[in-house]
Each structure stands twice: as C-alpha cells, then as structure tokens.
Amino acid sequence: MIDFFITYRPVLDQILIVTGLAFSQYIALRAGVFSLAPAGFAALGAYTGAVLHMTYGWPVWLALICSTLMGVLAGALLSVPLARLRGVFQAIATLAFVQIIVSLSLYAESITGGAVGINGIPAVIKTPHLLAFFAVVTVFTLIMNRYAVGRAFDAIRQEETVAVALGISVVKYQALSFAISGGVAGLSGGLLAFNTYSITPEQFGFPMLILAIAAVVLGGRVSVWGPIVGAFILTSIPEIARPLAQQRLLVNGILLMLIIAYMPMGIVDTFRRYLAGRRQSIAGAAGNRREP
C-alpha cells in the first residue's frame, strides 16, 4: 500500500495542483464570468514566487503569499474591463491575457530567464503541503458557496437580470470572484514552482489553459466536487493509459466536444440532478394531492 503511494506521489502532487487550477476556473465561472485566465494567473504566481525566492532570497512561505497576492491583484484589476463585456468577449480577453503573460515571460529575460525559464528552484513543497492546500481551498469554497457570496454568485450566473432586480451588485461580485480566482491560481502556480524544479513560459500557455477549463467542463461547474473529479480524471488518464499520454491534446479535445454535447453539466452535476429528479418525482407523486 505504501509502495503504491510512493510510486504515485508525483501524480498525486500533480492532481492536487491541477485541482487548484480547476477551482480557480470554477470560482470565476460560478459567478458567470466566462474566464479562461487561470493559466495566466498561475504563471504570474509561479514567476513571482520563484523570482522573489531565487533572485531576492525571500523565504519560500513569504514568496508563496506574494504569489497569491499577485494573483488576487491581477484578478481585481482585470475584472474592471472584463465587467463590461459579454460572455464570449470575456473569453477572448482572458485568452489574450494568458498569451500576453506568456509572451512577457518569454521577453523579460532578465527577470524571468526567458525561454529557458527559472531553474534550480528548491522543491520544498511536498505532498503533505499540497494536501493541506487542497483541503483549505475546498473548505474555503464550501464556505463561500454557503453564505451570501455564493448566493450572489449563483443568482448572477443563472439569471443576471433577476440578480440586479434583487439589488445585487453584479460588478462587485464578479470582481470578487475574479480576484479570488486569481488568488487561487496564483497560489497554485507558486506551489507548482516550488514542487517541480523549474518553470518555463510554455508551461502556462494553451495546454494549461485547456486543462483548467476541461477539468470543470468534465467534472461540473456547480458542485464543489466538480473541479475535484474533473482534475482527478484528467490528470490520471495519461498515467493509467500510457499511450494516451502522448495523445493528451487529442484526448482532451475529443473529451471537450463529447462532454459539452452530451453531458454539458459535467459528471458530478449531471449525477446530482439525476438524483434530485428521482427524489422529487417520488416525493411529488405523494405530495401532489395536496394542491390548494
């Protein structure tokens, strides 16, 4: 049993970090923001953390806090122009954002090491740290969903005009969700940097962007379990079936098309809805005789 764990530790680490990205994606989408930005926030967080530690000698824990803050700041700033845009244009804008970050990372060689990236980062973040991270983010999201913030997000996402008619500030809550999304992804990026020995700009481009969105499309965008299940499946598949590892892009692509066409709510939410439907039809049959 221990052997299994030891062999698969790196995979578990990977899953946990991808879950962070998936949660970042989930939080933005939850509030109805059509963001594809997590990969960009992760890049910011990763480089901030790595540079602060490697170039300026800051302690790792402080560097990671800054990774998170950098993500929050970027999210808050970006939300201003984003708030005025409609769905697909938010997607375009955030896509462009991710590309800008990658381009800048390639260009600002003196700070980021350019295409070579930053190497020799001490891999001080281990599985226990990542498990703690996972637990914290999950609990935080559960709490967020339970109280006013989550309620506001849901209203805005499902029926924006209703949200406005109820006095909910769409701008405020979307900015909030984007800032939180940024923070979670920034931290994920920072943890990635201190878990693997190096970071390069290409890591944070299209493939990571796709991974984040595919995880929530696959797993689900409403239940907290959605991003967890999605991240788990997407990260494990290439490990379990080696040939699929080479075809990662192809598999992700086909998966995206199939899921969005035939199970658009994602695995977890579809399942929950099915359960709710069954429960209610049984209850409804009994309760329907009580019409006034």
């Binding site: 967020m144 109280y147 006013a148 209703v162 008619a165 006095g167 209610q280 039809s281």
Partner: protein, 251 residues
C-alpha cells in the same frame, strides 16, 4: 402620500414610440391594475419603472424621490420588487434557495464574514432561512423546500417567484401577469394573497389580461394601448368604456 408616480413618461426605441406621455400613480395599500391589449407597452412600463430601461422623457417618482435616473440595482434597493412575465427562477437551485436570494438587500454582514463563515454570516443565514420557511408555509409550499426549481409545476414556480419578490420586503410590488396560464383555483388563491399584501400597506401594481381577476382585485385601473393611456378609473367603469372595448376588439 402616493407611492409611485409616473409624470408624462415616454420611451422611444429608434423611431418607434413604445410609450407616450403616460402619467399614472399607485397608492400604498391599494392594488392598481394596468391592462391593455398585447403589445400595448405594459411590460415596457414595468421595465422603465424598475430601471431596466431608461426613459426618453418624463419623470418617475417613488415615495417622493426622483428615481428616473437611478440604476436598476439602486431602485431595487429602495424597495421596488417585480415578478417577470416569463418566470425567471434560478432553475438549478432549490425552492428555499430561490427565496433566500431575495433577502439580499437586507444583508448586514460584510463580505469577509461571508467568505469565512464568521458568526454574523451564520446568524444571518439562519435568520433568512427561518423567514423563508415562514413564507413557504404561507404559500403552502413547505413540502417543496428542497425541490429543485426546474422540476416544479408551473403554478408552483409562479409561487416561488412571488415568494422571492416578497422576501425583498418591498414597498412597491410590480406583478407582470402573475396568474397567466393558471386555473381559477390557483388564481383565486394568489389573489387573496395580493389582497393581504395590499392590506399590509404594500403598493401593488398588477398587469393582467384576465378581466375577472382584475375586476375582483383592483381598486383602480389604467388602460393603455399603443403606449398611450386611453382610460382610467374603477374596474367596472373601465371595462365598459367604449375606447377600451374598441382597443381590445380592434375595429
């Protein structure tokens, strides 16, 4: 004191005049009817009042305050609630969650408390759910508390929408065809609730097609056609008014 006053309201979309020189008002504790043939501009008027559309001309006052230029959100926060012609519930949420959303404008706990589940947020949530349950009981929907809104019958969905509007504790309630597609029993049931709300001091503006319903409930009725006011008065007076009859029947 009147609750809502429309002074000479106009709304133009490009060259089309959806509403022209309309003046009307509502009083607290009364049910005011707004009727007219399809396309007369009734929903547009509601959208203008709630701030979802901007007026092209004229002034809107609510409780003595000029709300013409306010945003929809600000107007909602002043105590104006509405229901929608096509039901807009949060389909994926449960019945009680749909109602609880309505308490938003009464929130006092701050964002940090709500993000971290601090005491003030927990207390507020418990309080809101308690109040929502009372509303559910009033509307005889207690058994459906955790049902997903999407799976409810049409009549039940309408009730949920009503409860949500009431959760905001409105001073002015705009009902856009609240009993459309319902049978008489359901309609009567809701009608009694509207009467009770008015008796409690709320100002109710009712947009409806169902004449019998309007007649049994409304204290005062305005009739619009093609964006203009063509008659006003008591329900009986208005229903027999020649202009009104002509508007509904064509030529």
């Amino acid at each position: 004191m009147t609750s809502l006053t429309l002074h000479d309201i106009s709304k133009h979309f490009g060259g089309v005049a959806a509403v022209q020189n309309l003046s009307m008002r509502t009083e607290p504790g009364t049910i005011t009817g707004l009727i007219g043939p399809n396309g007369a501009g009734k929903t547009t008027i509601v959208n203008l009042i709630t701030g979802m559309l901007g007026v092209t001309g004229g002034r809107i006052e609510f409780e003595g305050r000029d709300i013409t230029a306010l945003t929809a959100r600000d107007i909602a926060r002043l105590g104006v609630a509405r229901t929608f012609q096509n039901i807009r519930l949060l389909k994926e949420a449960s019945v009680i969650e749909n109602v609880v959303v309505g308490y938003h404008r009464h929130e006092t706990s701050n964002t940090i408390a709500n993000l971290f589940g601090l005491r003030s947020a927990r207390a507020e949530r418990a309080d809101f759910y308690e109040r929502a349950r009372k509303l559910l009981a009033l509307f005889e929907m207690s058994d459906y508390e955790h049902h997903t809104a999407a799976f409810l019958s049409y009549g039940h969905q309408r009730r949920v929408e009503m409860m949500r509007a009431l959760a905001t504790d409105p001073k002015l309630l705009l009902l856009d065809e609240p009993v459309a597609g319902m049978n008489d029993v359901e309609g009567e049931y809701l009608g009694k609730i509207f009467r009770r709300l008015a008796d409690d001091g709320i100002s109710v503006l009712l947009i409806e097609h169902n004449m019998r319903f309007v007649r049994s409930l409304c204290d005062h009725v305005y009739v619009v056609d093609s964006g203009r006011l063509i008659a006003e008065g008591s329900a009986d007076y208005v229903i027999n008014h020649p202009d009104v009859v002509q508007a509904y029947l064509g030529t």
